[in-house]
């Protein structure tokens, strides 16, 4: 049942150089404004285009680096590894896919979690990683998210989950679907205990992740222009056979529809989180 590359996240991270989703090269053309921008400058700017504020997608390791006070992050649940419970095979076997993704990203699955300080406030931090199978939620992601919620509940810590995900992981089929129920039920218990959950939605957050814990934040932040929805735009277009409105399913559109509390630029995320933690009295 297992195919167990029993390496911890930290071990693998040490072995493999970190990769981000941006093509290599000193300069790159910004998809937001079309200008040539200097990569180092963009990276130093939290992976945001200095010209047009286009928010580049970032992996979980970079996200943690940006969010947590330096040196404060204590990783947890790093012993969790995915299995291939259904012996799933599409054009490629899930087992092979997992291994390829693990080598590519240096991570065991699409989630990084641990305790950290955010501007001096202790918090439970859990980050989905888009670079690993589109941040999809299978058993490991579901388990790590659930444990993060449980830890926040037990230790009375504010919970911050940063989502970026294509949704439930098809290769674990029904078991992935059940992670939606599991994580949401854990949030009911956090809520019963009076805990605080800040959900941060990044580009893109769709499917089963949106339809479970990601939309259940007491406070929901979204990064500018992030695509957020239940169904993907292509599926919607195929179903209704008409043009989608301008800006449809973007963070600003969700703000207007009343679905998120604030659209928060990456540079302000830490201070906004700290502010809500303070107001919550946690």
């Amino acid at each position: 049942m297992t195919q167990a590359p029993a390496k911890s996240w930290t071990e693998l991270k040490a072995q493999t150089p970190r990769k981000n989703s941006i093509p290599e090269g000193l300069w790159l053309r910004c998809p937001g404004c079309g200008q040539m921008i200097y990569r180092k400058q963009m990276e130093a700017n939290l992976h945001v285009c200095p010209e047009c504020q286009h928010h580049y997608r970032i992996g979980a390791v970079e996200r943690v680096r940006q969010m947590a006070d330096p040196g404060s992050f204590e990783p947890m649940f790093t012993g969790l590894s995915p299995t291939d419970p259904l012996a799933f095979r599409d054009l490629k076997s899930y087992a092979d896919r997992l291994l390829a993704e693990q080598i590519k990203t240096g991570q065991v699955d699409a989630v990084v979690a641990g305790t950290a300080f955010v501007k001096g406030r202790a918090a439970m931090l859990c980050v989905l990683d888009l670079s690993f199978m589109m941040g999809s939620m299978g058993s490991v992601v579901g388990e790590a998210v659930t444990r993060s919620i449980e830890t926040a509940t037990e230790r009375n810590l504010p919970l911050v989950i940063v989502s970026g995900s294509g949704g439930a992981r098809m290769q674990e089929a029904g078991l992935s679907l059940m992670q939606m129920a599991k994580t949401s039920a854990a949030l009911a218990r956090l809520d019963d205990a009076g805990g605080l959950f800040i959900s941060v939605l990044t580009d893109p957050t769709t499917g089963g992740v949106t339809a479970s814990f990601a939309m259940l934040g007491d406070v929901i932040f979204a990064e500018p222009k992030a695509l957020i929805g239940f169904a993907g735009p292509r599926v919607i277009q195929q179903t209704i056979r008409q043009e989608l409105p301008e800006g449809f399913q973007r963070a600003e559109y969700l703000l207007q529809s009343g679905m998120v509390d604030r659209v928060v630029p990456r540079a302000e995320l830490r201070s906004e989180i700290a502010r809500v933690i303070d107001y919550s009295g946690r």
């Binding site: 590894s81 599409d90 098809m170 089929a173 029904g174 078991l175 129920a181 939309m215 169904a231």
Partner: protein
């Protein structure tokens, strides 16, 4: 006999049915009532062809009927996952409203989410099953073309999920157990649905159902498509009808994404890979029971299907009645908490 919506794998059965029909006609021509009934030999008919022996025809019809039963049982005991999906979607397959009519008394339908509208793709109301008062919640696809379009073929909107939750909270307040019938290809993917928070509506149902202090039993009666299905299926006991399917995505959706195209072949592969049958789901621990269907599927004998479902529901409600309602959320949490498959190495 049924000439509608023929399923490829039912061909042998349909052939037998045609032969039965032919023989019955012959028997009528012979002036005898078809099958089983006593034959009246020696009755004159105006036809030129030699008189068939009605008694012999009756025997042959009886033989074919038995053959048909055996063939149905054989075909339906070994459906491929793809065939299962086709049976689960059969246009004549009984739906939530059918089961309500067949097994409930005094159905008191409740409409509207008090926010936006009333979604016909979600049916909700008080009812009695046997002597037990319950709240029934179920997806509804519609029977007529007009109804199907209004119901978006069983794809509920946020207002459907919100209606369901609002009434489920009412059930909790009244101390009524909740029975849900899952039958949806998935929640509706559209502009209005997104605008009104489809994801949020489902997510809230998952969270709130997990902490309702009243028994919840769910059964997937047809299609259990993804979050749209789960949105009314966070229950103490979950079952599937024998030929229903339940998974994270439809085979077509899965094929389109992972095989880059949905066609007969990839749909079949995806259906296989998704482990969507009742037996698969039972093995994975996702459901607790499989409710058998009559031979040839629920659409051939809705009454019997309803009776089987009713028996299962009644048994579950009976068991759950002995549980203190305030402890149900913790038990329900444990039920879902343990689902998933991973390995863990100690980290020190």
């Amino acid at each position: 006999m049924a000439s509608y919506y023929q399923l490829e794998f039912e061909k042998p059965v349909v052939e037998i049915e045609q032969r039965i029909a032919e023989l019955e006609q012959k028997a009528r021509r012979a002036g005898a009532p078809p099958a089983e009934a006593p034959a009246y030999p020696g009755i004159e008919t105006p036809e030129a062809e030699p008189l068939p022996d009605p008694a012999a025809i009756a025997v042959e019809i009886e033989r074919l009927r038995e053959q048909r039963e055996a063939e149905l049982a054989r075909v339906y005991s070994s459906l491929s996952p793809r065939d299962t999906v086709l049976v689960a979607r059969h246009p004549k397959r009984p739906q939530t409203r059918d089961y309500v009519e067949l097994m409930c008394k005094d159905f008191c339908e409740l409409h509207g989410d008090r926010r936006f509208g009333d979604d016909p793709a979600m049916v909700v109301g008080f009812a009695r099953i046997g002597s037990t008062k319950v709240l029934v919640v179920g997806h509804y696809k519609g029977r007529t073309t007009k109804e199907r379009i209004a119901c978006h073929f069983g794809c509920a909107h946020p207002e459907g999920y919100r209606k369901a939750l609002a009434k489920m909270k009412l059930a909790e307040k009244f101390g009524l157990p909740i029975v849900t019938f899952v039958d949806t290809p998935g929640a509706y993917p559209g502009i209005g649905a997104e605008q009104r928070g489809q994801a949020e509506a489902i997510a809230v149902n998952l969270r709130e159902m997990s902490r309702l202090k009243t028994p919840i039993v769910s059964i997937v009666i047809g299609e259990g498509g993804s979050g749209g299905a789960l949105g009314i299926a966070v229950a103490d006991r979950v079952a599937m009808l024998e030929h229903a399917w339940y998974s994270v995505i439809s085979p077509e959706g899965c094929a389109a994404i992972l095989w880059k195209q949905a066609n007969d072949q990839t749909n079949q592969l995806a259906a296989q890979a998704l482990k969507l049958t009742a037996r698969d789901n039972l093995e994975l621990g996702i459901i607790d029971a499989i409710v058998p269907e009559p031979p040839g599927g629920a659409h051939r004998d809705p009454q019997r299907a309803a009776a089987n479902i009713e028996r299962w529901i009644t048994d579950q409600l009976h068991e759950l009645r002995s549980v203190n309602p305030s402890t149900l959320p913790a038990r329900r949490y444990e039920r879902f908490r343990k689902l998933g498959s991973y390995t863990e190495v100690p980290v020190g």
